[in-house]
Amino acid sequence: MTATEALVTRAGRGERPAKPPRRPTPHKGAIAIFAGPFGVLFLLFYLIPIGYAVWQSLLVVQRDGTYGAPEQVFGGLAQYALVFQNAPFWESVGRVLLFGVVQVPIMLGLALLFALLLDSPVLKGKKFFRLAFFAPYAVPGVIAAIMWGFLYSPNLSPFTDVTRTIDFLSPELVLWSIANVVTWVFVGYNMLIIYSALLAIPSEVYEAARLDGAGQVRIAWSIKIPMVAPALVLTAVFSIIGTLQLLAEPQVFRSFSAAVSSTYTPNMTIYATSSIPNTQLAAAFSVVLALATFALSFTFLKITQRKAAQ
């Protein structure tokens, strides 16, 4: 530490240490002080847990006879074989993928529409709408799910006329009822990200189009949307990640609807498996889910980048 401090102060005074053959990094100490804490924390609470989960997923529990003490031994990919045979897990993966294919485009489409309206000269009261639409983001997923759970309920809802005829908590509809909760929370957040990107477009870009007599819709379609494409990609990636990780809302809905099983989403499967407890299998689920999330968002990034480059 003292060596580091010495380096910092020396670097601070602008004195150069004697030059060794290979040019040293200047301000090494300062860099260590600035980047070190994050590096250590990232290692401890990101990299090591990931490594540990991978290690756990390679173990199996063996017993000496029926009543022997359980013992963890290296089992290779045995847990992964179980993961691939686990029908409820793959059902839950299919369920969140279906959820994402429907919900993410609707949510981002609405967010884009609202952002374009906020950015267009035809709308009055922008400040109010911006805040009103963003307010649900301040509601945690658990609370939003509890609230909507009551709103969907056949007796307590303020809209009992609707909820008595349509059962939003039935096995057929409950997935889309949950999708509505997620959409309600996140549209405003995504709207603001896209809106910030719209604000960053210099107004000269529109001048030529306006002189040519382009209408607002045409400007939005041909200029604004292509220019905010990077923001749309960013929001899409975060939404894909969020969808695969779905946990709080369906977990809460278990209290309102019997249709939501304990393995309704991949994360719920992981939680249910870990509380059996079968930590090795749960770890294998976690690894598969993390890899799938990473692969999906990475692929999406690559595809959209290639499209943008064309």
Binding site: T25, I50, V142, M147, S196, A200, S222, S255, T293
Partner: protein, 299 residues
């Protein structure tokens, strides 16, 4: 760059002339209707929650759900705070502790790291940054189980630390701080600091950090929200209810509604109270986070 060329092409297209002020009145009206309808969609549920928390148990089921009957709000809040030796207040304090302390530390740590990545050259810098970016794509929930397994090895599960420690790592904060520092802290200023004899660390805390304020407030707010909203980590780590954050506490009450029906009022009032601090924080700090939000997305 490719985007710019694409847009340039688009403006050169033959653009139809607009049809004049008639259309503009129509589209004004249409825009207002669309936004008005969705304002109801976004605000009515919160309004309902507020109304519900002002009613006693009888009125809740029998009176108009979207308008006041007898004002019982403070009585409800009093009952909520008294229930179960005031465990709800305890949960609120816990949430503020997890989110406040966690977000503050996360912001300082991420801000420093982003600054180092933006303003210093060192070997392995890009590799380090890429690993951190990979971390942005690994969501916090994917880490909850591994963290639980690891923490149970060192007997840290079911403690305050089990939720706090993992919350002070924000890869997204590093990403945002780096972009913002690169754009807003001039190299000349750091160089001037060096000539004046200020150490690198002092320059950071006295000058650079101030220039990075909008980004740092954004990082703080979003980390605060993500810790406040985090559900999986407390769910998997905590067993004692005196350690619960308010979201997990309300969830646990909600699961007992069938056995203990009087909890319903507490769940509703408690839910409403728990969202007030975040809404207030967002309203007060909006001029900061709005600037910062754009930084992350434009890049």
């Amino acid at each position: 760059m490719s985007l710019l060329t694409r847009t340039a092409g688009a403006t050169a297209d033959d653009l139809k002339p607009s049809r004049g002020p008639r259309e503009s009145i129509l589209s004004r009206g249409a825009a207002l209707v669309v936004m008005g309808v969705f304002t109801l969609y976004f605000l009515v549920p919160i309004w309902w929650l507020f109304i519900a928390s002002t009613k006693d148990r009888g009125d809740l089921l029998t009176t108009n759900a979207l308008w006041f009957s007898d004002w019982n709000f403070f009585a409800n809040v009093g009952d909520l705070f008294a229930y179960n030796d005031g465990v709800y207040l305890r949960w609120l304090v816990n949430s503020l502790g997890y989110a406040g302390i966690g977000a503050l530390l996360a912001t300082v740590v991420a801000g420093m790291c982003g600054y180092a990545l933006a303003k210093y050259r060192f070997r392995g810098r890009e590799a380090f940054f890429n690993v951190v970016l990979g971390g942005v794509l690994v969501p916090a929930t994917a880490l909850a189980l591994p963290l639980f397994l690891l923490f149970s090895q060192v007997n840290l599960t079911n403690t305050f630390w089990a939720v706090l420690l993992p919350s002070i790592v924000s890869p997204f904060g590093v990403y945002l701080s780096r972009i913002y520092a690169a754009a807003s802290v001039p190299d000349e200023l750091i160089e001037a600091g060096r000539i004046d004899g200020a150490g690198e660390v002092r320059t950071f805390f006295t000058i650079s950090m101030r220039l990075m304020t909008p980004a740092l407030i954004t990082v703080f707010l979003f980390q605060f929200v993500s810790i406040w909203n985090n559900f999986f980590l407390p769910l998997i780590m905590l067993r004692s209810q005196e350690l619960f954050p308010v979201t997990y506490g309300l969830y646990s009450w909600n699961t007992q509604l069938n056995q203990i029906p009087e909890l319903r009022t507490y769940v509703l009032v408690g839910s409403f109270l728990s969202i007030v601090p975040l809404i207030v924080a967002f309203l007060l700090l909006q001029r900061f986070w709005r600037g910062g939000l754009g930084t992350g997305s434009v890049k």
